[in-house]
Symmetry: C2
Subunit: 508 residues, 2 copies
Amino acid sequence: MNRRDMLKLSSYAVAAASAPALAESAANTGTIARWDHIEIALPGPSAGNPFLDVTLSAVFRFKHRTVTVPGFYDGAGKYKIRFMPDELGAWAWTTASNAPALNGQSGAFQCIAPAVENHGPVSVRDTFHFGYADGAPFVECGTTCYAWAFQSEQTQRQTIETLAASPFNKIRMCLFPKWYQHNRHEPPMYPFPRSGEVNDYSTFNTDYFQHLDRLIIELRRIGVEADLILFHPYDKWGYESMPADVDDRYLRYVIARFGAFRNVWWSLANEFDLLKKKTSSDWDRFAQILVAEDPFGHLRSVHYCHVLYEYSRGWCTHAGVQDSRMELAAGWRADWAKPVVFDECKYEGNIASQWGNISADAMTRRFWMAAVQGTYCGHGETFLNENDILWWSHGGVLHGKSPERIALLRTLLEETIAVGPGPIGFTYMGDHPLFGARRPNDSVWFYYFDEHQPAEMTFMLPQGKKYSAELVDTLTLERTPLHGEFSGEIQLKLPGRPWLSLWFRQKA
Amino acid sequence: MNRRDMLKLSSYAVAAASAPALAESAANTGTIARWDHIEIALPGPSAGNPFLDVTLSAVFRFKHRTVTVPGFYDGAGKYKIRFMPDELGAWAWTTASNAPALNGQSGAFQCIAPAVENHGPVSVRDTFHFGYADGAPFVECGTTCYAWAFQSEQTQRQTIETLAASPFNKIRMCLFPKWYQHNRHEPPMYPFPRSGEVNDYSTFNTDYFQHLDRLIIELRRIGVEADLILFHPYDKWGYESMPADVDDRYLRYVIARFGAFRNVWWSLANEFDLLKKKTSSDWDRFAQILVAEDPFGHLRSVHYCHVLYEYSRGWCTHAGVQDSRMELAAGWRADWAKPVVFDECKYEGNIASQWGNISADAMTRRFWMAAVQGTYCGHGETFLNENDILWWSHGGVLHGKSPERIALLRTLLEETIAVGPGPIGFTYMGDHPLFGARRPNDSVWFYYFDEHQPAEMTFMLPQGKKYSAELVDTLTLERTPLHGEFSGEIQLKLPGRPWLSLWFRQKA
């Protein structure tokens, strides 16, 4: 994997993670790399309840453009405003607050060229795909560690190390702790002050959120997108059924805290339809808050259990489906005209639950079936072990055989994407969506044969272009170049065994 | 396989097949085994066009019951009436015809106990399943040799030998010759006299139909049901677009000729929706003719390409779907309240067409997925070979790896079925229909794990009954008894690999 080679991993402690680019003492003179974040820290009132009483925002100006950004209280009389500049050059800012000490503060900074590994935030590209702000393609390749933020420091460190060496460039993670099978421990901290079974929803536990800051920044450091799950139903503390005003304040707080981190994606919920106290209008209101109040316009979606979400709705930037029927991908893509990500399609593992015991072969197949339809798949892993640390929820280390296969697919897709602009398309062979093509320039065509095992097949390549051909065994990872140069209608002998992929690449 | 052990195969020539139980000279005094057929042959007019001019039927009487049976002209001045008695004892018959020589003839015969391998015709049993008339279960296990009737005598003989040694107890076969990929030969005979490109639809080629008689009787001899496909679209001779009166006459002729063969099933068409000249009312009329005019009430269904047939309709005794989405079986079964047979779910093979190149593993999976939902699957095989003889159409020999695996499944299901009355039910585990149970007495429960690989699982067996447990590897065919006796809620360690099945059988 490119990224694996690129990163120079060293040991570090997550709890004392590499510091964010704090601008506290240099707000007026500092520099900040494009798509990194600047943090303005201002002392202010600590009396009363600053979370409820004090308003704070800042307007950032670049030439004639202004961006209004919410600030947040971080405890101990400290107020913060975080900002991710997206243009090179001189920026200036001015604060507004109902607290005189915080009002009318101002400063300026220079936004400078980013480091080579900083490609900026990800957004939708070519209708069905994703790309970084600097133009680099983002071949979404996600995994899931729902509750890794609430595990031991050692496990958190392992998670980062495992991720950095993995093919995965997005992680689905919950902002609230999780109570579920294999997850029956109290978290080390709570998001709200808690006394016995009672939450004090009037304030936030800033230690809790500072910890999440550090984790998201660690993910950013290793090039992994943090798909933040804002609500979920696996709860014993009350977070799935908070009063509406608390829900909204929590959302706004999270937007203000994390929005300036370029690797943030918003997932409104995991299995939203299992939060029985929430109504459709609650979800609509949450979506509106995200759309209206995230100054950085991060990607937005939601994940369901039983009820397929209407991903055609305007607030969704992409679909984050839970389904194992990979054959539906192409139709959904066409219907919704958005990127389709199978955020959950069951997990490689061996637990008793059907959603957590598919084979590595089956997991690999799902990734290929998604890819060949121009959509994206998500990984997770649930292998029983003595420590009861399962990647799907706790992170730690990977035990399965699918990641190395997924890595090959990502490499192949990145090679494909690298050749030029335009989306990956696909078409049908018989009743199966069987190939993807790099369009509009036809420079790469690829097939995935799934359970099919043709011993021969005719292919229609564009006339007047010359292609090389390579057979890829998606399970053994063997790559076999086919001898010769191919053009127009060709008939190929094939090995007559399943799980192969065939790649045609235009020769220079 | 039971049947494989039971049959004593010897070489024989299909073209001079073991003679049907002809009663020509013994109509008044003979005996015939229950569910065999008696054939009354009467000399009659050969002038004019006997096919159009002469009507013939006979009433068969058993005690106070009468059955009216159509006769048919078999050429050369010979008229025939075939009858399959279903009651032991004395039967008598009287003919009716507009030809004096054929009118008012009468006779009698004794129906005696059948041979041990003659279980009678198959009909629907316990809503979702099939059974023989003598009460023996029929675990449908079908294959497909569409055009075997039109191949060389050697290939036809091979087909019978292969079938007899196979797990398959039903074959889908066309009554008209086939024109399609791998099928570009003129047949040795035509169903209607043919001059150049012109069919004489006013008569039938009796040689053609006599040949089919022999093949169906050969299938009967080896215990294989003949699922006769009455119409199909793979045509170059005009049989897919005959005038309506010819269609109807052909149907009535076929009913009169073949209806007394106990192993006949009627399939109205293969891919009925590809016969572009036929309308819905044509298909309805054909169905009505089958229902009204087959005195023996053979099983009836139809096979489609793009348009799922309404199998809930009254004339259909069972569904004969073409689909690879095995997950839909349980829902269809519940909706239609009939046996569901996946007559076509793609074929094991390696040809270029997607419908003909799935792996043996995939074919095996389809059979298990059907079985665990209390439905049935169909086999076919399409391996390229030097002689261009592909089982799916020509018959001959089998090359694939799925039949031996299908054989094990059939054996297991027959063991299950043998334990007592009542249908196989099923229920869901998570989002998958994961097990079947022998009901109502819970004597057998079985699970199929498909792509799932749990390392442990909890099972809820009935309290107060004791079960043995056996793990079956559906691909390697390894059968591993688990040590001990099982009852009530139990937790089992499992191998943590996919494609396994688990069987609980009540101990005596």
